[in-house]
């Protein structure tokens, strides 16, 4: 684990310098930053797995833990979709292509994409929660991996039309890949929206995807997750085939600074990806 981690001067807390190469405005408060390490060897050796996270530095401001939203099948850069919520993300949002940042990682475990092989996949996302799922979606939908997985269903919702992330994927790219369905919903009516209106958990129950031979992977706001988990249970998904990824305040990302623990587990090392049966073993402190 540590051996594969990109850090400078042998210090796992010291990032490598990277340059922002493009910024995509996803919504009013979400931007996707594409970053490339300044040292090509660091870029080449950065081997993340879908679901892992990295620490992004804005020097002078600090660091934040952000999930890597690009799939490892897309090489030569990393993408991070970041919602503007706090100090660091606000400063990050002001950066433009060409600006220098720091990146270290990858950290944490990953989505169990090996044991998902041969299975159908159901993604359920809400708001910025699609960001970590996107790394796995693009991984399994990549041409070289597509035949390893069965049917892929993506159920995604946001508060409004403006709040839908990854519109290009949702509207164009993903629905055109074989054996892939995308279901998008927004919370409230909008004259410009012809699609479904309603909350994600209710929409999920309406679509009623079968649970046979299928993994469900979900991420979104806590209240959505809560109702999605109960909907998935009703649909017949066993706990070990329900996967989610947790968000926690982190500083080091490597199990030392002590703040992302849930009981004896550190989310940065033992997570962020947990199956529902693992989650039920943990104290409810997240």
């Amino acid at each position: 684990m540590g051996g594969n981690c990109a850090c400078a001067a042998g210090n796992p807390l010291m990032p490598h310098t990277a340059t922002i190469t493009s910024v995509t405005e996803e919504t009013g408060d979400v931007k996707t930053f594409q970053m490339v390490f300044d040292d090509p060897a660091v870029m080449e050796n950065f081997r993340q797995k879908p679901g892992q996270v990295a620490q992004i530095s804005v020097f002078g401001m600090g660091e934040s833990t952000i999930s890597i939203t690009s799939s490892p099948t897309r090489k030569g850069f990393l993408e991070f979709s970041v919602k503007r919520v706090g100090r660091l993300t606000t400063v990050l949002h002001n950066l433009e292509p060409g600006c220098k940042v720091g990146v270290r990682g990858p950290y944490g475990n990953h989505f169990p994409y090996e044991i998902m092989k041969g299975r159908d996949l159901l993604f359920v996302g809400g708001g910025i929660g699609l960001a970590p799922l996107r790394s796995l979606i693009d991984f399994v939908l990549a041409e070289e991996n597509r035949d390893d997985y069965g049917k892929v269903e993506i159920v995604y919702g946001a508060r409004s039309l403006d709040d839908l992330c990854f519109k290009n994927g949702l509207m164009k790219r993903w629905p055109n890949i074989k054996n892939t369905s995308v279901y998008t919903t927004i919370d409230r009516e909008d004259p410009a929206w012809q699609g479904h209106v309603g909350f994600v958990p209710a929409y999920l129950e309406e679509i009623a995807p079968g649970a046979d031979n299928k993994y469900a992977i979900t991420c979104g706001p806590p209240i959505m997750i809560k109702f999605v988990l109960s909907a998935l249970e009703k649909l017949g998904f066993p706990d070990h085939r329900v996967i989610t990824t947790l968000e926690m305040k982190m500083k080091c990302g490597i199990g030392k600074c002590g703040r992302c623990n849930i009981g004896s587990k550190f989310v940065c090392l033992d997570g962020p990806v947990f199956s529902l049966n693992q989650l039920k073993e943990l104290p409810p402190e997240f």
């Binding site: 400078a8 210090n11 310098t17 993300t89 030392k256 402190e285």
Partner: protein
């Protein structure tokens, strides 16, 4: 390994000599009778008649504020902090504090070894000072610490009638003895016997609390009304975490003074503080004093054991002495035992 004697009168000379060649950290009595581990350069009085220092010597390896690297905001250029220079000696650490260093070693090693900590650790020779007269506040034996024991030390000093017995435990300790041999003389079997008698008496005297059933209780019960009761008193001031020898939490901060550069440091942090776990969006998994206090004591009595199979408390008693609200881990251990036995 070698065992030697050093006369009381020679200790200062020995330390002055060490301070000339190496970075020496030793207990010093400061204003208001406060004993602290300080960098001493020779000549100043080192305190030898202390129970323990107010703040644990973990600071020698894990400073309260430590520069990790300098950065340029202009071009993202990074300059790592200079590695620790030369050999170091930590003199006078008590066996509980030495055991605590062993307890936090795996935090800073493992899959992501921390070079700043490990470098200082490797370059430091630990000279422990046996507790021959532990206080009523000490309960190190509860967690398997021998108050006059040498676990984790390179050299163990034990005060005898008119001299100290110095026992080299590791090659590093032996090297230190050899390098300053002129201050030491040969020990006899009688000295070893005297030391053993004192060590035995210390082990008899020190409190050994019964922790039976506590781990099992905490394994099974995350929610206990007891935590709520206790949290009513807690001020979340964080002094317990500041002085604790096994607390290892830190924050990472950038410091700039205008211009185009700055430094990134890590600083001690505390799970007692509300912002410790508060996320940018406002969600806080440990929103009240109850969750934060529970986390601290669960860390000491369960989490650290679960993760590293090492005690998260070494019974130094500092937190019980310093808490402005009289929250006392010894009392907590007793009361958790009662909860375990009586179900409340």
């Amino acid at each position: 390994m070698t065992a030697m004697l050093i006369d009381n009168g020679n200790i200062t000379k020995f330390l002055d000599s060490v301070a000339r060649d190496r970075l020496l950290v030793a207990p010093v009595r400061e204003e208001d009778n406060v004993v602290m581990f300080r960098h001493v350069t020779g000549g100043e009085p080192v305190c030898l008649d202390y129970l323990n220092a107010s703040v644990s010597p973990r600071e020698m390896f894990f400073p309260a504020t430590e520069k990790m690297f300098a950065f340029s905001t202009a071009d993202g250029g990074l300059q790592p902090a200079e590695p620790a220079k030369g050999k170091r000696v930590l003199f006078g650490a008590r066996p509980c504090d030495v055991k605590a260093i062993l307890s936090i070693d795996p935090v800073f090693s493992g899959d992501f070894p921390d070079p700043l900590y490990l470098d200082k650790r490797e370059k430091t020779t630990i000279v422990a000072l046996a507790c021959t007269n532990p206080s009523h506040r000490c309960f190190c034996a509860t967690f398997g610490v021998d108050p006059a024991g040498a676990e984790g030390a390179d050299l163990l000093l034990t005060q005898l009638e008119s001299c100290y017995l110095a026992e080299a435990i590791t090659p590093k300790g032996n090297d230190l003895l050899e390098a300053y041999r002129q201050f030491f003389s040969t020990a006899s079997g009688g000295h070893a016997a005297e030391k053993n008698r004192l060590a035995g008496a210390a082990a008899q005297k020190v409190n050994k609390l019964d922790t039976g059933g506590i781990k099992e209780l905490l394994d099974e019960n995350f929610e206990l009304p007891y935590w709520e009761e206790l949290a009513l008193k807690c001020l979340n001031c964080g002094i317990c975490t500041y002085i604790c020898p096994t607390c290892h939490c830190f924050n990472i901060m950038d410091f700039t003074r205008g211009g185009t550069g700055g430094v990134r440091c890590r600083t001690w942090d505390s799970c007692m503080f509300m912002n410790f776990t508060r996320m940018a969006g406002g969600h806080n998994p440990r929103p009240t004093r109850k969750e934060r206090l529970r986390n601290r004591f669960m860390h000491k009595l369960k989490y650290h054991l679960d993760r590293y199979n090492l005690p998260g408390c070494v019974g130094c008693g500092r937190c019980a002495g310093a808490c402005p609200a009289n929250i006392d881990i010894r009392q907590i251990i007793k009361e958790l035992r009662e909860v375990a036995q009586n179900g409340r």
